[in-house]
Subunit: 391 residues, 2 copies
């Protein structure tokens, strides 16, 4: 476990915002994006990856929606970190969502920093990065942008929309906003609204970033700085919430790192401290601090019921989508009770719903891991949906 | 709810470290304190409050141990904040621990910032504040210092030692280190060791403080600065862990603060954000940032079993103390399972133990609140112990 940071990686991450190693679609002044805030975003672009081939009926498209700090590189080597795709336990050749059978699409979210327009993108009005001049975006804004990509690709109806955490929020928003365009949906480890506790943790992270003088009131890219310490603290706090207490206990307990006794200092005596510091330092290499502010804010604002007169079931009244809702027993960030509330609303709306709470001690991040029960659940649901869809 | 900070309060807080509004006992070179780290601390002082009168048999002394950010002002107006005593729901005239009957003692912990020697105290070797030259201290160090105070007061055996969270750790350490000097003990919302998750949260807080350039490598007092932003972020993160998700939901939910719709900005739109910011800002007024580092570190190192060959029950083999262990059902920082592990060890050691898990949705901080079931529990136990003690 090393804290060494390659400067090259940082430069690559910066370039990805404006010169992504991905497919790109650009929407000019003729196709502005009207945001929930009332602002018009134009021009803007979406960076995305595809895997497999769209069939002639255009019925085999799967949209993968990524989480807060994810990106479009779901099933290929990441150009910044060099790591393999973040969900290659689920997506890929011979996987449950088999790219030999399905046409898989994953796009960087609006407000992200991997090529879709966000605060690190160049603002054409100033030729400088937007910074905090970028308009605040919402989950529905992200989904409207994705829908423009799906239109551009000539696809009417997605066979499946799938994602965990903030990805699951987008999946739900797709089903609510485009009730006829999503054949099946797999929202995992998510909720129909962000809880007070989750807003609180996000606010701590944002305050950590904004407390760093190198944040420069959001204009750090202009002055060649980056709020690395603040963003690292934000990531450390968030990372604890992605795990579970039992997993931390099993993985680290009170074990010392490279020593047999305490140093009686503020060094990282305990393995869990060393691990957290590494998580903070490596995150800073690959993620833009302002994107972190914008994307957490989008999650905070997420509340499907509020957009439908305060009644969640109304959001899904017209839906033809079949749902597979997945939660994890040790996820305390998006607990099973959130999924259960969602399932009740879907049932009340008359939707077709499967609901599985998977037993795992790995916390929220379990959806990203190669959990056999998760793979089996997705497989069963997707196979059945594919049969119905005639695939 | 205001974020206005009185500069006077900050100055008072600084003065409290060296000129406390409390009773003081000073231990000179003849009575050094040998720390677990091996360092000798000398001279040093303890700032403390007492309430009531010690009886002629000296059998009615109650030691109250405070938590991480508490202080000795348990039952009187706080000289910095102007608020009433932090535990006047339990301690005071006519209260469950009645100061007309008991002689109540509460001292600021070693490493604190309210008059007991800590990093904000003047180092006699340099005539400057210790800062990070202060030696790292442990919970056993704090308790050894308290025992010197109890000796100084001429008390052999405490009728009761009581405290929650880190205060509960001190109560347990008292019973383990001085098995004949504690007649009864009430450790609440605590554990016999600090968990990996709790160490992780503390590490985030410390990194937030140390990331603030105004921390000045620990020497901020020398240069007239204070790492207010970093300490505020640390407090915000910690404060979430003191509450429960249901309490946050009940208290704030997704309610807006002073507005009816989102501002699409990074202002504190949600009440929970505004509340957290207030918690951070008001904490900075009254607490020293280096003390926060030292006292969190003491908690991290706490592991009674490790000090007794890895077997917790061995720590209590000789104890004559009767215990009342209290946990709260919604406390996820020190969950009931921690208390249960403690109770098993006490039973294995043959100790006299009562154990109560109180139903509350208020999280870890429930022990500080005026909860009728808590008051009733303490009352029942203390009354019975007093009868046995002949009080």
């Amino acid at each position: 476990m090393s804290l060494h940071i390659e400067p090259l990686a940082v430069n690559q991450a910066n370039n990805q915002a404006n010169e992504p190693s991905s497919l790109l679609v650009q929407f000019d002044a003729a196709k502005p994006l009207k945001l929930d805030s009332g602002a018009l975003l134009s021009p803007f672009q979406i960076a995305y990856q595809t895997y497999g081939t769209l069939n002639s009926d255009k019925t085999n498209a799967v949209l993968v929606c990524h989480a807060l700090t994810g990106d479009q590189h779901v099933a290929n080597q990441n150009p910044v970190t060099g790591k393999s795709g973040w969900w290659d336990s689920i997506i890929g050749q011979g996987r449950v969502i088999d790219t030999d059978k399905y046409f898989v699409i994953c796009s960087n979210v609006l407000g992200g920093c991997m090529g879709t327009t966000g605060p690190a993108s160049i603002n054409p009005a100033t030729n400088q990065p937007y910074g905090t001049d970028f308009p605040v975006v919402t989950i529905p804004d992200m989904v409207r942008a994705q829908a423009m990509l799906i239109d551009y690709l000539g696809i009417d109806t997605l066979f499946c929309a799938i994602g965990g955490s903030m990805g699951g929020m987008q999946v739900l928003e797709w089903a609510a906003s485009y009730p006829t365009r999503v054949f099946s949906a797999i929202p995992m480890a998510t909720a129909a609204k962000h809880s007070a506790q989750n807003i609180a943790f996000h606010e701590v992270g944002r305050q950590a970033v904004m407390a760093d003088p190198d944040w420069c009131s959001g204009r750090y890219l202009d002055c060649g700085k980056r709020p690395e310490k603040g963003l690292s603290v934000a990531r450390m706090a968030a990372h604890i919430t992605y795990l579970s207490e039992p997993a931390l206990q099993r993985k680290f307990g009170r074990k010392f790192q490279d020593r047999t006794a305490p140093t009686f200092s503020f060094d990282a005596d305990f393995q869990v401290e060393s691990y957290l510091r590494y998580q903070g330092a490596s995150f800073v290499e690959r993620f833009d601090a302002n994107s972190y502010l914008y994307v957490t804010r989008a999650m905070d604002y997420f509340d499907i019921a509020a957009d439908h007169g305060g009644v969640l079931s109304k959001a899904f009244l017209k839906t033809k989508t079949r749902f597979c809702v997945v939660s994890f027993s040790s996820d305390w960030l998006f607990p099973t009770s959130d999924s259960r509330a969602l399932v009740h609303a879907l049932n009340a709306g008359g939707a077709s719903v499967s609901f599985v709470e998977l037993l795992s001690d790995k916390g929220h991040d379990a959806f990203l891991l190669d959990e056999p029960s998760l793979v089996a659940t997705v497989n069963g649901f997707v196979q059945a949906a594919a049969k119905t869809r005639g695939l």
